[in-house]
Amino acid sequence: MLIEVHILQNFAPSNLNRDDTGAPKDCEFGGYRRARISSQCLKRAMRKHFREIPLLSDQLGWRTKRLADEIVQKLEQKGKNPDESRAVVQTAMKGVGLSFGKEQRTQYLLFLGKTEIENLADACVRYWAELSAGAVAAQQDQAAKKAKGKKEEKKSGKEAIPAEVRNTFLQVLDGGKAADIGLFGRMLADLPDKNVDAACQVAHAISTHKVSVEFDYYTAIDDLKPDETPGADMIGTVEFNSACFYRYANVDLDQLVANLDDDEELARKTLEAFLRAAVEAIPTGKQNSMAAQNLPSLVMAVARNSGLCSLANAFVQPVRPDSEGDLVRNSITALDAFWGKLARMYGSAGVAGTWVATTENDVLEQFKDARVDNVEKLIQAAVKASRLEPAAREAQA
């Protein structure tokens, strides 16, 4: 099953994603120049959004320190000394290439449940002796170096820890439970062992209308310069535009579950996080000076078993504001009409469910039956349609 999300989002003047010349990215579609936000820019905005906004409960995020805290806590529960535990965990994590400083974080969004923490703690307990020895050796090494006045060197602890501990940690940190790797694939890595094929597909956002280049001519003046001296100290132009984008993304649930080591509950949470991020995340290009924080005017989710296809062709003929409606309303009308045409031509046998949430309810015709009141209901409906199993209730409290 696939979950598709289609979005119409109109932005105030902005330059969210620019090319090497500093101009907003563009492309040609239907014979006219359109504004574009690249797929990689949208994906990055979503990944960042995952980390900064806790979209879901028990989201561990990406701080190795926090992961270490959780394991230490579990070790303490097993009766180990807290300081020793911390040293042991530190050694183990160093051994898999995660340096452990104040600021250190893993790259990935980790959802770690009780089982994973338990496994990591168990691995530490089983090899307690070796890891403690490793920790002591590392400390002595550092002390000796300090005494000699040399700079503290981060010893590559990879050889220092037993293979089983290393593998257990790697299994957890290396993508088995990393929701964002499962979705977007392995792109950036500090532990690059496995290749992960992305479960989601994010299209480049294309404006529904034609767009021309606009320039903001600016000057910068030195406040401290003498009053008598006329002229600016710096002049230039910044390019920008304002566009109503059609955005498309989909998630292949089978691939997502496979990427997350067959953890259906995690896949369900990840799907929810993905849908939320798709709606809420906005790229940050030039936002300090433009502040174009605009939410979508239409969000549509489609659950289907086959036949996925972008609705970009609704906008082959560029949309224009006219007496019938403004740019956003006319874009929604075009999308609505095109959905009907596509269904007539290709049938809708593959579609399992459609939900539309929009600010312009009165414009919908083909989508009338798919209307939901708000985005929250849309997300819940799409997640429910995915039929991924929610967590079974635990027997003990």
């Binding site: 090319d19 579609f29 690249s38 094929d197 996925l308 082959v316 003929q317």
Partner: protein, 246 residues
């Protein structure tokens, strides 16, 4: 001879065969390796062939003779792409280097693509067994289909519908005949005009033709073999133009 016809159309497409490192190119029409890769995605056939599974072999797929009719030439554009780079203090967001470390700097690349292109692709085989199973796979693909790069989603379903005028997808015709006789659809209201001539790029075994290195031998190790293609044209008068008001 039988031919399977598929449509590859979308706002952006890229079919590269010659790229090295950070400049990713595209040809002016779909490559055979790209199309076969797309069929493998529909089948759910992995890159690694060590387990043959229920799918046809890559050799079998590569033996299909491919032709492309360019219904609309795309314009070649470049997408400027950066990966990595440190954006905030303390954040390491690096691209992995071949030498083993992480690059602290952003790695820029230029990725060429075809904007607004539309292709009709034909695959010819002696009998229809393989073609029918490929058609079935395309109607219910196992993995997401895309036009050369994963973010280039098709805007028209790749598989043709079952009934005329747009279908059926498997034709009892040889490759050239199938490509020449398939209608060119004028979408009323799109402002498109039927072109003076359409370009055809067809696989051939004449030595004097153009060479393409896009016959997949192994996707896992990225090995490709050569094939020859020739370019022909269909004139406006030979073209069957159908006016489709959806």
């Amino acid at each position: 001879m039988r031919t399977l016809l598929i449509r590859l159309a979308g706002p952006m497409q890229a079919w590269g065969t010659q790229s090295r490192f950070s400049i990713r190119d595209t040809g002016l029409e779909p490559s055979k390796s790209g199309v076969i890769g797309l069929l493998c995605a529909a089948l759910g056939k992995p890159r690694d062939e060590s387990d043959p599974g229920p799918w046809p072999s890559l050799a079998q797929l590569a033996s299909l003779r491919m032709g492309v009719r360019v219904d609309r030439e795309g314009s070649m554009k470049a997408d400027f792409h950066t990966a990595g780079g440190t954006h905030r203090k303390g954040e390491v967001y690096g691209v992995y280097r071949a030498s083993g470390g992480i690059s602290p700097d952003a790695v820029p690349s230029t990725r060429y693509y075809l904007a607004n292109a539309d292709f009709l692709v034909g695959l010819e085989a002696g009998d229809s067994g393989l073609l029918v199973s490929l058609d079935r796979a395309l109607s219910e693909p196992k993995w997401q289909l895309y036009l050369g790069r994963k973010s280039f989603v098709p805007s028209v379903p790749i598989r043709l519908p079952d009934s005329p005028p747009f279908g059926p997808s498997v034709r009892e015709q040889a490759l050239e005949e199938a490509l020449r006789s398939y209608p060119w659809f004028l979408m009323t209201g799109s402002g498109d005009e039927p072109p003076d001539k359409l370009r055809l790029v067809i696989e051939t075994d004449t030595q004097a033709a153009e060479v393409r290195r896009d016959v997949p031998v192994c996707f896992a190790t990225r090995r490709f073999a050569l094939r020859m293609v020739k370019t022909e044209f269909i004139g406006r008068n030979e073209l069957l133009v159908e006016d489709v008001s959806l």
